[in-house]
């Protein structure tokens, strides 16, 4: 992916552009009043900020406000203050959802290491490797709905591949999606599939950009295998690891699609997560205010990570 670059890593030829610039003003037009450089950025930003404010900023504020009311979408909004939050903290479903979100977070952390392992495995220059790498990346490209359907079928107690496989070893069928103890693990496995693919590609890119001199030097010193990995390679992969972790965390907290498609939060709420609980309360139970409260809790949890990401990213800028 590298090409002719200047010192900032930008791939083009400086001279041709400078030429173009003078062509733009070769008519010797009299100087017209130009938009000042102070105003210009705001004009460029305007449409983006406008629609973003309308569809993202305003809704966030609105949802937070709504969480202090009880509203069924049809009638009047009734002020309940912190009532929704109190009810939330006293509700079994909320704690189950929170527990499941924690499980998702924890187990999703397997995605970067597994992704790294596969990336290392695939990091060879044999013929056709480009094609193989793309195939490994496949699961990330298809919709989560499709992934969910495929895995739901995979887990089917009568005909699913998983139980056929277990049957070969004489193990009884496990109805993964209808067993309250196994269901969340089944969902997480489905979610990990595309997530690992994404981490894999991050690491492959990172591995492509390793400093060959450092590696050669380390090899000459006799380093190899795991020691090489730990002391030389991993530190160079830090940017990739950073992004992998952030995206994996966001993915774990966002896990709506799998839950919705595969179990609808069931059986009896045992696989629900905050994202799904919010949707159910708002759309099926017609409790907009309560749903908004769930969303606010989820938002606050996410904020921790957003803050962490922003701080790191902006620190890197300075």
């Amino acid at each position: 992916m590298a090409s002719l670059t200047n010192e900032k890593g930008f791939p083009f030829k400086v001279d041709t552009v400078m030429e173009k610039n003078s062509n733009l003003t070769s008519h010797n037009k009299p100087k017209r009043r130009r938009v000042s450089t102070k105003v210009a950025p705001w004009i460029f930003l305007a449409p983006g900020i406008a629609i973003f404010a309308l569809y993202v900023i305003y809704p966030i504020i609105s949802s937070v406000a709504l969480s202090f009311y009880e509203w069924d979408g049809l009638g009047e909004k009734v002020w309940v203050g912190l009532g929704n939050y109190i009810e939330l903290f006293e509700s079994d479903v909320f704690w189950t959802a929170l527990k499941n979100n924690a499980l998702w977070l924890l187990l999703f952390m397997l995605a970067p290491p597994i992704g790294l392992a596969i990336a290392l495995f695939l990091n060879q220059q044999i013929r056709g490797m480009r094609f193989v790498k793309s195939l490994f990346f496949f699961p990330f490209v298809i919709s989560q709905v499709v992934v969910g359907l495929v895995f739901a079928w995979f887990y089917d107690p009568t005909f699913g591949l998983l139980n056929q496989f277990l049957g070969v070893f004489g193990l009884g069928p496990i109805a993964v999606l209808s067993d309250e103890n196994w269901v969340t693990f089944g969902l997480i496995a489905a979610g990990l599939w595309p997530q690992v693919a994404y981490c894999m590609i991050l690491y492959l890119t990172g591995l492509n950009n390793l400093d060959p001199e450092q590696i050669e030097a380390a090899r000459l010193d006799g380093a190899k295998g795991l020691r090489m990995l730990w002391y030389i390679i991993l530190p160079q992969l830090k940017p990739a690891t950073f992004i992998a972790i952030v995206v994996t965390v966001i993915g774990a907290l966002r896990s709506f699609d799998m839950v919705s498609v595969m179990t609808s939060g069931g059986p009896w709420n045992s696989s629900t997560v905050l994202a799904y609980m919010m949707y159910e309360e708002s759309i099926f139970n017609y409790r907009m205010g309560y749903g908004a409260a769930v969303a606010v809790v989820l938002f606050l949890i996410m904020d921790l990570y957003i803050f962490y990401f922003l701080r790191n990213m902006l620190k890197g800028e300075k």
Binding site: E70, G73, L74, D156, S178, G266, E280
Partner: protein, 416 residues
Amino acid sequence: MISEENSMKIVKKFAAAAVLCVLIGASAFAGELVINSDASDPAPKAAFAKIIKQFEQANPDIKVKYNLYDHESYKTTIRNWLVTTPPDIVFWYAGNRMKTFVDRGLFTDVSDLWQEQNMAEDYKSAMPAMTIDGKQWGVPYTYYQWGVYYRKDIFDKYGLTIPKTYDQLLHLSQVLKENGVTPFTIGTKFLWTAAGWFDYLDLRTNGLDFHLSLMEGKEKWTSSKVRKVFENWGKMVKAGYFLKNHTSYSWQEAQAPFFSGDAAMYLIGNFFAANFTQEQRSKIDFFQFPQVDANVPMYEDAPMDTLHIPSRAKNKVDARKFLKFMTLPQNETLVNDALLQIPTNSKAQVKDDKYLNIGVKILNSAAGTAQFFDRDTNPEMAKTAMKGLQEYMVHPERLDKILKRLDRAANRIFKK
């Protein structure tokens, strides 16, 4: 250069033309009837297409715009339409479903139509479900029976006969189980099939009045009456008479073991029979859910489909015409023929079908009917309760916890 007299003539002509335009515009406006429906399955879709054509023929000045939606999204969007710009007629359901909108003034009172058409007589059994505060809020057009479909051939094989009492049902279930046949198939992935069981056991154990009272949040789930229901149900659940892993299956997926002979009975509504092949029809019969307590009359679940006029509808005049049209016996016959269900108008014909014939007898002699769990109670309560019922079916030992949870939910939901 126009004289005053002529200009007056011109003004008058313009005025007349203007009035004419308004009239034409108004009647053109009045002539469009917008109907939103969720009767999107093939049979009702075809049936209503016919009805609409006939209605348009009988009313050449009215043009019908018929919009179809799938069931799930319809339930959500109807709430949007009713408060913004609704169609002139909506398809909906009786029971709590209707009450939700009536309570908010979103449906039109059509008691006048009922009186005009003398529907109190023809729709006697359906009227209570359509009445709130002594007024009628819509027009029903069909309902269907629930009951037990069973494999006659399997019953014959083991010398079993139709049970008249719950004890007999338990006994024959035991025989089936001992012979490796699952007595009852069921798929609770989407919850409501479990509610069917609760409905029937509550109706048979405690009667319709208590059941509806419970649905309206006026009874406690932890009461001894409700516990008695679970005691009865527990005899089935704890003996393992239900399909294994039923939480994985939707009601359609649960059909498979019934068709293959791995299971012998299915408590479900008559929409099930629409799937049968000829060969299956010869092997499958139907019986009424048996009596549990000899002192409690036989009540049934008979979910009703209905038509309503939203309060904010534009064209209420023509909407009323359409409702009137639907109450004609021949039209109910037409629709129910295609739906394979039972007309609510007692003057309409029921199709001669072996399952419907039994259904009509049962419903005609029923002491009263309910709309089905998730139509009789508040949607949030329904969802919470049905999850509890599903959990009970897999973990009957958690009954206490479940009932307490349902009470807490009911307390919060119904005190508003």
